[in-house]
């Protein structure tokens, strides 16, 4: 460092830390070629009428017009909004509540934690199949309750177009809240004991401490959790395939399934690419302002 400042002019920024720069070349190449390159390629081909094989014959916005006129796509978007909103709210709330309960120095905490986290170890396909059976009116919850004597009991969300998306939501929450709980628990454990002591001395009720002191202190954990949940929401596919395969009719379709079906089953790559581009745009609209606030703003502060 000292050698540079004694030199004639400003040191060449590009030559500093050459080793580190050289070492990051593979990563940069991967990011640019695979992630960025693949994305650009997909967006470009979404303006073509590629069928089974990609070909460069441009048709302007035709694929997008067709996409936004397709009832199935509109249904998919609507489902994603409902599913996304509720799964975000419920997994955060339930996850935090479980973590707060777990944080009360209870006995057998390890056992409970393991039980709560177990569903997360299952793949979405397994989760989906398990809940398909549980929610099946002839084998699952409905028949069990009926056999107990309540014969008019009806609970068959997967076979009712109006509420099928909530049936999927139940399975998703069952699987996902354990992870959220663990993340939150880690955050709670990171809070200094002294803060608790201080609030106790001041006589602040526990719920108020959580709400006004602890949660604001856990901002980082909340943001991490939010990103993990949100990315899970946008890409939800296998759960739907295992539980309902989009049915009844098109009532539980989701965007990722539209993309797959049109790319491979309908042999219409252009349409699939247009749909996946729309998914990317949605994610970008959410992620970019957040990333700007989180990282761009952070640098200025520092």
């Amino acid at each position: 460092m000292a050698g540079y400042t004694r030199g004639s002019g400003r040191p060449n920024q590009w030559l500093r830390n050459l080793n580190a720069k050289f070492a990051s070349v593979p990563m940069i190449l991967t990011a640019v070629v695979i992630f960025l390159g693949g994305t650009v390629w997909t967006v470009v081909y979404s303006f073509t009428n590629s069928k089974l094989l990609p070909r460069l014959s441009f048709v302007g916005l035709d694929q997008y017009e067709r996409l936004w006129a397709a009832p199935r796509w509109l249904m998919s978007v609507q489902n994603l909004v409902i599913y996304g909103f509720f799964s975000l709210v419920f997994s955060l709330v339930i996850g935090f509540l479980l973590a707060a309960l777990m944080d009360q120095k209870i006995r057998f905490e390890n056992t409970f934690r393991t039980i709560m986290l177990y569903p997360f170890a299952l793949s979405f396909i397994v989760t989906g199949l398990v809940w398909q059976w549980l929610l099946n009116p002839e084998f699952g919850i409905q028949s069990v309750v009926r056999s107990l004597g309540w014969t008019s009991f009806a609970f068959d969300p997967l076979y009712n177009s109006n509420i099928v998306i909530y049936g999927i939501l139940i399975a998703a929450l069952w699987q996902g809240t354990g992870l959220v709980m663990c993340l939150m628990l880690a955050g709670l454990r990171g809070i200094d004991e002294d803060i608790w002591k201080a609030t106790r001395v001041d006589g602040i009720p526990m719920w108020k401490t959580y709400l006004l002191v602890i949660i604001p202190m856990m901002r980082g954990v909340f943001i991490t959790t939010l990103v993990i949940i949100a990315s899970g929401i946008v890409k939800v596919y296998d759960l739907v395939v295992a539980q309902t395969s989009g049915g009844p009719g098109i009532a539980s379709e989701v965007p990722a399934k539209y993309v797959y079906d049109y790319m491979f089953q309908a042999q219409n790559l252009g349409q699939g690419f247009a749909a996946s581009t729309m998914m990317l745009v949605t994610v970008a609209i959410i992620i970019v302002p957040w990333a700007y606030l989180e990282f761009g703003g952070g640098r200025k502060r520092a």
Partner: protein, 411 residues
């Protein structure tokens, strides 16, 4: 080493590669996995193994809609199998145009496929730019209504002889706790059932105008409105099916839990496997008993272009084995489909297959929708009809409008 043993050793080195050249392992992919289908495909494997080669079975579970993307991505990704099933028609069109498939014209001319394959439209579907790219193995027709005799007996009504009688019998079936019409949840089943209703109710010419000429005015017209009316009946009758796969729906008919099912003749394999007899245990009505026309879509084997010469030779052997009269009979009897050759003897055929053969001989045939429409239009149609069958609040008029739009944009 004396001279003789040297000569023998020499002979062995020469003979070995020659002997090996005539035997090869060929991987064949297909989506025949239900009980009846698996029994049928075993016949093909047996026949091919008898030629000294070896059939490596590459069954892909799930319907064609699951299997086809896997097959296509293997072919386009440079890892082709030796042969693969497709429904002949437009599914493999682009693969052929991209030069990924093998031209079978030589062997086809040598074995005279043009003369033996009946109806000729089957081979036409394999032909692109004058060259033949696939070997058809069977004729599958969609236009069948399968009825459970036991279910109707339980409901106390006669087994219907046509669609209208079936609709009239529906309330009696419902009263007996039987679902009148089983329609599985997979989207292609609803779309297929509609196509069948169309041929039966609107007739052959209208069908051709809508799917062949893509005439949107006919699709929006009064003839098709009648078909949507019937589809509305079918929707009401299918309420409470609650199964996904077609063979589960067929099973409902076999066990008498459902009155009937509109399904292609591949359902027959399931009846056979369950030990049921046509006429006594179940009844089949081609063309829904209204309009005895059958479509001649079906399965065909396509052969991807391979670099390996031995395997390429074995591909030819496989192609000719598939069309061999003995293989045709053994395979189609198990599968419940009709042979692609007019000259084979199907004395062992059951009641329903004989009806099919009869219609075929009379020439009352149409092309299947797979042959007429692109996969893209088919998918749009599936989306429409799976929604229509699941959503009772969707009116037939709305559905018809969307149907006409799909036909208008079809290519």
């Amino acid at each position: 080493m004396n001279l003789r043993s040297f000569a023998a050793a020499l002979a062995v080195t020469v003979a070995l590669p020659l002997g090996a050249a005539s035997a090869a392992d060929l991987e064949v992919t297909h989506w025949w996995t239900s009980g009846g289908e698996a029994a049928a495909v075993a016949e093909l494997a047996k026949a091919f193994d008898a030629t000294g080669n070896h059939w490596v079975d590459g069954a892909i579970a799930g319907a064609g809609s699951t299997a086809r993307p896997i097959m296509v991505s293997r072919i386009t990704g440079g890892d082709p199998m030796a042969a693969t099933q497709f429904n002949h028609g437009r599914q493999a069109e682009e693969l052929v145009q991209a030069g990924l498939m093998r031209d079978l014209t030589d062997i086809a001319t040598k074995e005279n496929w043009k003369d033996i394959i009946k109806p000729a439209s089957l081979l036409d579907s394999c032909t692109i730019d004058g060259k033949i790219y696939c070997a058809p193995v069977n004729i599958h027709s969609w236009q069948w209504l399968w009825l459970s005799n036991a279910a109707f007996k339980q409901a106390g009504v006669d087994v219907p002889k046509n669609w209208d009688e079936f609709v009239a019998a529906a309330p009696a079936l419902e009263k007996a706790g039987i679902v009148p019409l089983a329609v599985g949840g997979q989207a292609w089943q609803a779309a297929g059932a509609f196509d069948v209703l169309m041929v039966a109710i609107a007739g052959k010419d209208t069908f051709q105008k809508v799917f062949g000429d893509k005439d949107e005015e006919v699709a929006a017209g009064p003839e098709i409105a009648k078909v949507f009316k019937a589809a509305d009946d079918a929707r009401r009758m299918s309420k409470g099916t609650n199964v996904q796969d077609w063979n589960q729906a067929t099973n409902m008919v076999i066990t008498g839990k459902a009155g009937g099912q509109i399904m292609g003749d591949w359902a027959q394999g399931e009846f056979q496997l369950a030990g049921q007899k046509a006429g006594t245990d179940y009844t089949c009505l081609p063309g829904l008993g209204v309009n005895e026309v059958i479509s001649t879509g079906g399965d065909a084997f396509y052969f991807p272009l391979l670099k390996d010469e031995e395997k390429s030779k074995a591909q030819e052997v496989l192609a000719s084995t598939l069309l061999n009269p003995a293989t045709q009979v053994a395979f189609n009897l198990k599968k419940g489909s009709l042979p692609v050759r007019g000259d084979v003897d199907l004395a062992a055929a059951n009641d329903c297959m004989k009806k099919g053969l009869d219609i075929l001989a009379k020439g009352n045939v149409i092309q299947g929708t797979d042959q007429l429409l692109s996969a893209d239009s088919q998918k749009q149609k599936e989306d429409l009809f799976s929604e229509f069958f699941a959503n009772a609040s969707m009116t037939p008029e709305d559905a018809q409008k969307r149907f006409a739009d799909i036909i208008a944009s079809a290519e």
